[in-house]
């Protein structure tokens, strides 16, 4: 049967390849099926489109690994844009507006985290409520419409280049690296795994569970804010409903990437690759001329298959007992 890997690298290798192979297979298939896919233009397009989901997925994998979930991220993406638009229109400079936008999301994460840990309420329920709240605040700020965000400088984030690569790529990379560092190199990362497996055991080991939980949701919220900045910059608009549904795709990315929805273990690389798979799939199907809803349907089937597959692969192996 399966060999027990004797160190973490081999263990990592066990999880990651399955989703990597799927990604590679998809890339090859689309390259072959449609000529428009394998162009530099499309590649950059892919990166810009996928950045938002990938950034959110890095935050989501932390939340899910800790045994929780964050349903508010989609609404926070929209909120960021509206806050930026709102504040810019009132005279704030765009860099500051950006920071305010992200901080608002961090604050939302803080509130969610506090209610979850101190109030002892299911993360699903709290972030579900926060979804309504954040979306509504966004709608209120934007009067239900879209706020145009003028400014060449700001839109550079979404459409500009740095070292020949789209800026969203760099943002995503930095975000992923920060989360990676957080998970692997800091004590918090360990504690998150521990809490996700068994929060009681974790507290008996001396881990401050409440504090860690709050940090998790602050992180998730902040990353949603960063994603929101990228999104707003790409479309030069602040719209509260943009990003609706992102949370579910992020969760799907995390799950097909090998993280069980119950938490306790998680793979950042898997989540990132999972998000790539979804983005590539959507991009490829659109290039083939399929309508957006049909694309949705196929992505839906693909996701279900992906999750089933993930269950078989990741549950089958890695059982010590």
């Amino acid at each position: 049967m399966r060999q027990n890997p004797s160190n973490r690298f081999l263990h990592w290798l066990e999880i990651v390849p399955s989703i990597a192979w799927i990604l590679i297979a998809l890339l090859i298939v689309f390259c072959l099926i449609t000529p428009h896919f394998a162009t530099l233009d499309n590649l950059f397009n892919l990166i810009r489109q996928g950045a938002v989901l990938t950034i959110v997925a890095t935050g989501m994998v932390v939340a899910i690994t800790s045994g929780g979930i964050d349903l508010s991220v989609g609404a926070l993406i929209g909120l960021t844009g509206t806050v930026i638009g709102f504040t810019i229109n009132r005279g704030l400079s765009w860099p500051l507006a950006m920071v305010v936008g992200v901080l608002v999301c961090s604050l939302a994460g803080l509130i969610s985290g506090l209610i979850i840990s101190k109030g002892r309420i299911f993360p699903f329920v709290v972030t579900f409520g926060m979804l309504f709240i954040a979306r509504s605040i966004g709608l209120g700020l934007s009067q239900g419409g879209s706020i145009h965000i003028a400014g060449q400088a700001f839109s550079m984030i979404g459409s500009g280049y740095f070292l020949y690569l789209p800026i969203p790529f760099w943002v995503t990379l930095v975000a992923a690296l920060i989360v990676l560092f957080f998970l692997k190199r800091t004590v918090f990362g360990r504690y998150i795994f521990s809490i996700g497996s068994d929060a009681n055991s974790a507290s008996w080991m001396g881990i401050k569970v409440d504090l860690i939980r709050v940090l998790v949701y602050v992180l998730s919220g902040t990353l949603a804010g960063v994603a929101g900045v990228v999104m707003a910059s790409r479309v030069n608009t602040g719209n509260a409903l943009i990003g609706q549904g992102t949370e579910f795709f992020a969760i799907a990315s995390v799950v097909i990437g090998g993280t069980p929805i119950t938490g306790g273990r998680g793979s950042l690389a898997g989540a990132v690759l999972g998000s790539f798979v979804i983005t590539v799939l959507q991009n490829g199907l659109t290039l083939l001329g399929l309508s957006s809803q049909l694309t949705s349907a196929i992505v839906g089937i693909a996701l279900m298959l992906g999750v089933i597959f993930a269950q078989l692969v990741y549950r089958g192996g890695l059982r010590g007992k």
Partner: protein, 329 residues
């Protein structure tokens, strides 16, 4: 004799716990109504109150389905597209194919049952977590809806049909009676049948239920079928009221249903909750909307109110539980 030191009158009973859960919410609802009647003259008019009931009815009906599923420790995120798919199919049957409305409704309910069955099978046999499974089917059914209706908007339904959603009996919107009927049936199902007992047992402790010999898979599948059928029925009434069907109506059904259920006191991990709570939950949501309308607050802030109420409701329940535990000593 153990426990003799704890006063008999305050020892926690299930019926009492459920009663308190419902009563406290009813109290909140009544307080809200009283406050509203002071804040706005148009609030306490028959017209307005009927309006609230009329709009709360479909939310309740769909919410009832979600309540059954959540009680069994599941969740149904596919309601939006179950509603739209069955809705557009029914619409084309009625308008394009001139099938009599009752057959169309029946067939579409049958389709809803099938969609629920699919959800149930994916959750029980393929063992996907309900959250993931129903999100997948949500996307799947959404795609099928688009394939079927292809951007059309269907309208022009028969008078008999539109009566269901838009008609009145003795001045009271008919849909309220329908909601009442649904309430009675679901209450009967949950409180007075073995099926209902099993749903609560599975939600409270799936492993213990399994040990007791309860066929979990069967019950869970049934719960998803019920949920989908109620989503279907809700969408039918909705179409009937607005007299049109298109591919994206149904948006927000699942969220509202979950909100009504949670506000109503049903615990997210199942086993605890009442259908009465969901009724009140739907009413509270509508009351908030109505209040905002009357007070001139933009409808955009509805979400804020709903979200706050969800969190407050759940925090309140946690607090009540703590108090109950104190009495236990």
């Amino acid at each position: 004799m153990e426990n003799s030191h704890v006063k008999p009158s305050v020892r926690p009973k299930l019926a009492l716990a459920r009663f308190i859960s419902v009563i406290s919410r009813l109290a909140v609802l009544l307080i809200m109504m009283v406050v509203m009647s002071f804040l706005s003259h148009s609030f306490f008019t028959t017209n307005n109150l009927l309006n609230i009931l009329r709009q709360a009815a479909p939310i309740f009906i769909i919410g009832a389905g979600q309540t059954v599923v959540i009680l069994a420790r599941g969740i149904d995120l596919s309601m939006d597209s179950v509603a739209s798919l069955t809705g557009v199919i029914m619409a084309t049957l009625m308008v394009d194919n001139k099938v009599p409305f009752y057959w169309s409704m029946l067939l579409s309910l049958g389709l809803g049952a099938l969609l629920g069955l699919i959800n149930g099978i994916i959750v029980t046999k393929i063992k996907l977590p309900p959250f993931v499974a129903t999100f997948g089917t949500y996307l799947l059914f959404k795609g099928l809806t688009v394939l079927w209706i292809d951007g059309r908007v269907i309208s022009g339904f028969s008078k008999d049909f539109t009566f269901l959603g838009a008609g009145r009996v003795f001045g009271i919107p008919f849909i309220i009676f329908i909601a009442l009927l649904v309430y009675l049936i679901v209450r009967l199902l949950l409180r007075y049948t073995t099926f209902g007992r099993k749903i609560y047992a599975i939600g409270a402790n799936p492993e213990a239920s399994r040990v007791s010999g309860i066929k979990i898979d069967r019950i869970v599948i049934a719960a998803f079928v019920i949920s989908a059928m109620l989503a279907t029925f809700g969408s039918q009434l909705y179409i009937s009221r607005i007299n049109s069907a298109k591919e994206d109506f149904g948006e927000g059904f699942a969220l509202d249903a979950i909100a009504a259920t949670l506000i109503g006191g049903t615990s997210f991990d199942g086993g605890v909750g009442t259908i009465e709570g969901t009724v009140i939950g739907a009413l509270i949501i509508l009351l908030l909307r109505n209040a905002m309308n009357l007070l001139g607050v933009s409808g955009l802030w509805q979400g804020l109110a709903t979200g706050l109420v969800i969190i407050i409701a759940v925090l309140g329940d946690t607090y009540l539980k703590k108090v109950a535990k104190k009495y236990e000593g």
